[in-house]
């Protein structure tokens, strides 16, 4: 993948661009609506869903509050079972470790299972620079890699592409990476899947090194779990001689039994299936079956900074199901690329600014990429209160304050772009404290209401770029109340200006 998220514009600019792309909006609307209804049906089959959800959240909270304990336990069990554990404080360190491990095998290529962690670290580019070619094998990741594109969805990275675009990418690009697309390839999904099967087959069969992430790691047993559909995961996990798994430290769960919660929550929330086609679990290495060398790279890369925030911490419960993306009205219209990170949608809007801090204009804009409608919280299988964290992060962006960045305690300064908004809020506070000034201001505004523009001039323009200015009423509520005492138009003490025509009064 040669695409990069670096230097991308802040969300409002990116979204202003992407919302004008009618094909993109059509593709996203079609895909998210398809999965939305299916998810609702899959969830409705289980009448204990809310209890599962509560347990899923509580187990993650238990893990997070004692993360050091569980990671040390995990390390011990993985090592005892024949695996080797490595720790990476940031993306560069993780990439360095993986590059070294691949080099030690003497190989110059690796097959990869879809992994959010390695998207986050930019592993493919790092390997490429070291002369190692990483082949993405998940169908959607393959589409992204061949198309020299960026992922735009957690579960289906190529969700922004429709079948005819995929057909075109396969026809024109597959030959550059190996076996060309079959002659006369149609845009039928089954034919496209077949083309991917043929293209990747040779790579799987000769692969000596596999790179994966993991959905869960069990501290008690040292077991890793990969949940997938296509069988590309099984290929990468079992055929190569060396397996390297890069996994975020928050993916650990305490016990084997705890999987009974997540293996029910995850498939129904993500692909809306009772169970995904394939789930693989492995503990270290097994003689004569699968890789003889197993490396686990535990990745921090901003997770401990997130953990330090007692409100934002809940984002680390995330099991990457993508249900929140699929229901989000903002994601559906803006698309995943506008979020400028491998984690788009509502979860990305709270995870990215915590993993990377809110220093860049892009990351500071993400907590605002939401209407706070709360649909994401509703569907989240581990009950992450995304709106709560969004508001919390907006506060941090506007007001600044203490935070932890790369393990260091810092005091963030208020974001510059929000100076006008802060000034407006200060002025509002002053006015609202002074009834006379408020009255005078409101009278003035009402008289000049025809003159109010649709867009504010000067520093206020940024605010109205993404909002419509509310209409100014002819008479303020306060003035109306003063004039009528509330009894001119309805029953005493209860009515407002629009409530005067109550029947039978």
């Amino acid at each position: 993948m040669s695409g990069t998220y670096l230097g991308m514009p802040a969300f409002p600019e990116a979204a202003a661009e992407s919302t004008r792309d009618r094909r993109l909006r059509g593709n996203l609307r079609h895909a998210t609506h398809t999965i939305r209804d299916k998810r609702a049906r899959a969830v409705a089959e289980l009448d204990d869903w809310s209890a599962l959800r509560a347990a899923g959240a509580a187990l993650k909270d238990r893990t997070l509050r004692h993360l050091d304990h569980y990671l040390e336990q995990l390390e011990e069990r993985v090592t005892a079972a024949g695996g080797q554990v490595h720790w990476a404080a940031d993306a560069e360190e993780a990439n360095r470790i993986v590059t070294r491990l691949v080099r030690e095998t003497g190989e110059t290529e690796a097959v990869k299972v879809k992994s959010m962690a390695t998207q986050e670290t930019g592993l493919n580019d790092a390997l490429e620079r070291a002369g190692i070619r990483a082949y993405e094998t998940d169908l959607a990741e393959l589409i992204v890699q061949l198309g020299d594109d960026l992922p735009s969805h957690i579960l289906v990275p190529a969700i922004h592409r429709n079948r005819s675009e995929i057909q075109e990418i396969f026809r024109t690009r597959m030959a550059d990476w190996g076996r060309p697309a079959p002659d006369g390839l149609t845009d039928r999904p089954a034919d496209l899947a077949e083309a991917a099967r043929l293209h990747l087959r040779e790579k799987f069969l000769r692969a000596r090194v596999g790179v994966s992430g993991a959905n869960f790691m069990v501290a008690e047993t040292g077991t890793l779990v990969v949940v997938e559909s296509e069988g590309n995961g099984r290929m990468c996990l079992t055929l190569p001689e060396t397996l390297i798994s890069v996994v975020g430290i928050e993916k650990v769960v305490p016990t084997w039994q705890d999987l009974e919660v997540y293996l029910q929550l995850l498939p129904r929330s993500s692909t809306a299936e009772r169970m995904n086609p394939y789930t693989s679990t492995w503990t270290g290495t097994t003689d004569g079956d699968g890789p003889s060398a197993f490396h686990l790279v535990l990745l921090d890369n901003g997770r401990t900074d997130t953990l330090a925030d007692t409100v934002g911490r809940q984002a680390l419960r995330c099991i990457r199901c993508s249900a929140c993306l699929n229901v989000c009205p903002v994601y559906e219209r803006a698309g995943g690329h506008a979020y400028g990170s491998p984690y788009p949608g509502p979860i990305g809007a709270i995870l990215t600014p915590q993993l990377r801090s809110t220093a860049s204009a892009l990351d500071a804009s993400l907590p605002y990429a939401s209407s706070l409608c709360g649909a994401c919280y509703e569907v989240c299988p581990v009950a992450i209160d995304i709106p709560e964290v969004l508001v919390h992060l907006r506060e941090r962006v506007v007001q600044g304050g203490p935070a932890v960045v790369r393990g260091e305690k810092v005091v963030l300064r208020p974001a510059r772009g929000h100076a006008a908004e802060r000034a407006a809020m200060r002025a509002a506070r002053w006015t609202l404290d002074r009834p006379r000034a408020l009255r005078a201001g409101q009278r003035l505004a009402a008289r000049g209401r025809r003159l109010v523009p649709r867009r504010l001039p000067g520093p206020g323009r940024a605010w109205t770029d993404t909002r419509d200015l509310p209409a100014v009423p002819a008479e303020s509520f306060r003035a109306w109340w003063r004039r009528t005492r509330g009894d001119g138009a309805g029953p005493a003490g209860g009515a407002g200006p629009t409530d005067g025509a109550g029947a039978g009064r």
Binding site: A31, W87, A193, R197, R234, T304, V404
Partner: protein
């Protein structure tokens, strides 16, 4: 400082709000969910397994155990299979009636060799009715993970009712995490094109499950 010390140090600093004496089990986890959804009885559980397997496009067959050799021979013949890889511990009588060439699961077999094999026949460790899943644990009648992955046609025999459980929690109780496990729910599939499910990608494109009763 090693990466390990850095990460663990950061975690401990980040958790300054957690009281010193708190133990992991002090964080309450309410397991108010069900061990199984509904109370069906054995026959209905097997029926549900069959229904859910078929729902995800596995081809389901039912027979008495005595009828297994005949059924397996017929399925392999109908598929046109000439070769089948079999785990070392597969009961030999299961394939006694078939004339396909049997290749035993050996550690030295290369992926390319497996790619040239038509079918694979295995047993399973447990099957989950609620989700339509068969679980392999690399036991003697299931073999190495690769043999059920590379060939394009997998026949999996479930001994009913004793290998069938209702739910995911019950399945996990029966399974040993030290063994490599493969949970299979239908043939390989993808939702990557417009979030619509299509069967048949890298794993076996045809999964036949035989529910063999007493």
């Amino acid at each position: 400082m090693s990466g390990r010390d850095v990460v663990l140090g950061r975690i401990r600093a980040a958790l300054a709000d957690v009281p010193r004496g708190e133990r992991p089990e002090d964080v309450p986890v309410e397991r108010g969910y069900l061990r199984a959804h509904g109370n069906r009885g054995t026959a209905a559980t097997v029926d549900l397994l069959a229904e859910h397997l078929a729902d995800y496009r596995a081809v389901v067959h039912r027979c008495a155990r005595a009828g297994l050799p005949e059924l397996l021979a017929r399925l392999l013949a109908e598929r046109g299979s000439r070769t089948a890889v079999v785990p070392r511990g597969l009961p030999p009588e299961w394939l006694a009636a078939s004339d396909v060439r049997l290749l035993p699961d050996r550690p030295g077999t290369t992926p390319h060799e497996l790619d040239a094999v038509d079918s694979v026949v295995t047993g399973c460790a447990v099957a989950v009715a609620e989700t339509g899943t068969v679980v392999l644990d690399a036991g003697p009648d299931q073999g190495r993970r690769r043999i059920t992955l590379v060939p394009d046609h997998h026949i999996c025999v479930v001994r009913v009712p004793e290998q069938v459980v209702d739910s995911v929690p019950q399945a996990l109780e029966r399974l040993d995490p030290a063994r490599p496990l493969t949970w299979i729910s239908g043939p390989s599939a993808t939702s990557d094109i417009e979030l619509d499910r299509v069967e048949g990608v890298h794993g076996p494109r045809t999964l036949e499950v035989v529910l063999a009763g007493e």
